[in-house]
Symmetry: C2
């Protein structure tokens, strides 16, 4: 980074500084709850075409920064672009979420990293465009889905409640499942590194389904691949900072925070504040307002924002939600959140 | 209980004894994975009509005992019969799960405990029939959904991922939400007590959505109502034993186990064995094989059964799954599980 560039607050916290007020951004801060997003989205084709349109993705990324002055932009994209780039057949149906042709041990050979490297060029171009347009004092976050979470979508073909297809593969055909996780690990290292090369200041790894594994498999398929990704990315980019978000990790959160090498751990809204506070001895924490409180707004939201700030103050903290912004969220509530996070305590 | 009746193993463990092998039963042990259940179900009308047919409900309850010789029967019923009995409009659609006309703060007055008391008579008659037919050496378990979980279904009208309607009510109209939880608490005390009066040997409280609350609300809407239910049931039935199952409680599991007064805590499959072992210092634990491992069967299942037995042996333990039996489970795997739990270690 050129020395003339002011260091974004988010990066200072990821390097171990404590800032008051803390930097603030929100998972899914770009998206359907914003009228300007809906207008932009209406002009393009499928959801994936939109993600692969560098101009549209860059504009969607910047919209919440323009409106709310958040401390960081996160690339507008999806955790399934890696699966799509590798050659899985991914489709987004309106109101239904992603639908994939389920991958099986037999069709695993269909996935190719070389294909992904070419296929995702427009994503990296979007990163470049955002970095060129974004205020240098604000950070740009790249991201990817973690291997276990992407494997769930590949095996299930869609969202799931019991993850029976993914787990049946994991337990029933362990060798090919390990091969799948290893392939996704390498693809994730590549995808995150390319975003860093294109201008992302740091990256976040989303493990949305980390919470559905028994502890032994959590170690094998969440902690171990994350550690490998952190090591692989830092080998290529020694100064890279990585935020890990193991949603629903529950009793395994400490193992994740302490054994993967991430620079910060994202806390879901169920993580008790005192537990997050204990983690701050070793690394930065990010979170963890319930997104429904952002949707509700008012005194209930204000009170919880103060409680979160108080719990994490004096140690490295990035203010965020404990899950993504909900589509029914009034944009004014986001403005009120940002003001409350930056107000004197 | 007449002194001539042998005390069922499940009740001995709930009273603090350690048994080797441990008693074994499975959540959702009666149901669609059994051909005899599908044959019985095909003869009746809607799912709720089936639950309210004492003969059919009793027969479904006894089927897995006849086939597998499990240590306990659990009444065939549903956690939403309380909501239905209170006057909410509940419907089960084939393959979709329950659909309710969503309850709002304005329509809360529609729910009446007096209505439920009459409406659920056939459920208590089913309990009587099962108790009369069941081997006295086996326990009969009654059950109910916990107030937070039932409130989620009432507010959402169906299953949900973000629980925005339930939480928006909780945070946006706290007084009427507390009134709803209090009403459900009283209804649950009544429903569990009536099952005990009809012949259930103990009861289980299912809090399926306990894991989606921030810790403060977990204390207010999971721990507090559970404590009130335990106190209320034990006031009417001083010898009653109560198993609590706060699915997904994560970091709040200890608070639940230690502060509610339950005699045993059900562990979901994500609870690390060493964490369950620590809880056994104060109460019995139940669990916690991943139901997908039961579906997969074979060496993977056998290995994990041995690990669970070893982790919990020498202290009070009830062998069970960490969630309900999946519909695709081969019945022979259940027989193999029971044999493995009862085999010499």
């Amino acid at each position: 980074m050129p020395s003339s560039r002011p260091e974004p607050a988010l990066l200072r916290v990821l390097a171990g500084e404590s800032l008051d007020p803390p930097p603030v951004w929100l998972m899914r801060q770009a998206g359907r709850y914003l009228p300007e997003y809906r207008a932009l989205r209406a002009k393009s084709g499928s959801f994936l075409e939109f993600c692969y349109n560098p101009g549209a993705a860059a504009e969607a990324t910047l919209q919440p920064i323009t409106r709310f002055g958040l401390d960081a932009a996160i690339l507008f994209s999806d955790i399934l672009v890696v699966a799509d780039g590798l050659g899985a057949k991914v489709e987004f149906r309106e109101g239904e979420g992603p639908v994939l042709e389920p991958l099986t041990p037999e069709s695993l050979g269909r996935l190719k990293i070389a294909r992904m490297q070419k296929y995702l060029e427009p994503v990296y171009e979007a990163v470049q465009r955002v970095r060129a347009a974004l205020d240098p004092a604000r950070a740009l976050i790249g991201f990817a889905g973690a291997p276990w979470t992407v494997a769930c979508y590949l095996a299930e073909g869609m969202g799931s409640r019991d993850f029976a297809a993914a787990k049946a593969w994991m337990w029933g055909k362990p060798e090919s499942f390990e091969a799948l996780i290893e392939l996704l690990t390498l693809a994730t290292i590549e995808h995150l590194s390319r975003q860093l090369e294109a201008g992302a200041d740091c990256v976040q790894l989303f493990d949305s389904w980390a919470g559905v594994l028994p502890s032994e498999e959590f170690r094998g398929f969440v902690v171990a691949p994350t550690r490998e990704i952190v090591r692989g990315v830092k080998q290529r980019h020694p100064n890279a900072r990585i935020i890990g978000f193991p949603r629903g990790a529950g009793a395994m959160l400490e193992a994740y925070a302490h054994e993967t090498g991430v620079d910060a751990v994202g806390l879901d809204y169920a993580v008790p504040l005192e537990k997050g506070r204990a983690l701050q001895k070793r690394l930065a924490v990010q979170g963890n307002l319930d997104p429904v409180l952002l949707q509700v707004g008012g005194a209930a939201m204000q009170g919880r924002i103060r409680a979160i700030r108080a719990a994490f103050s004096g140690k490295p903290h990035i203010f965020n939600l404990g899950h993504g912004v909900l589509p029914a969220t009034p944009p004014e509530h986001v403005a009120a959140l940002v003001a409350a996070v930056r107000a004197d305590p």
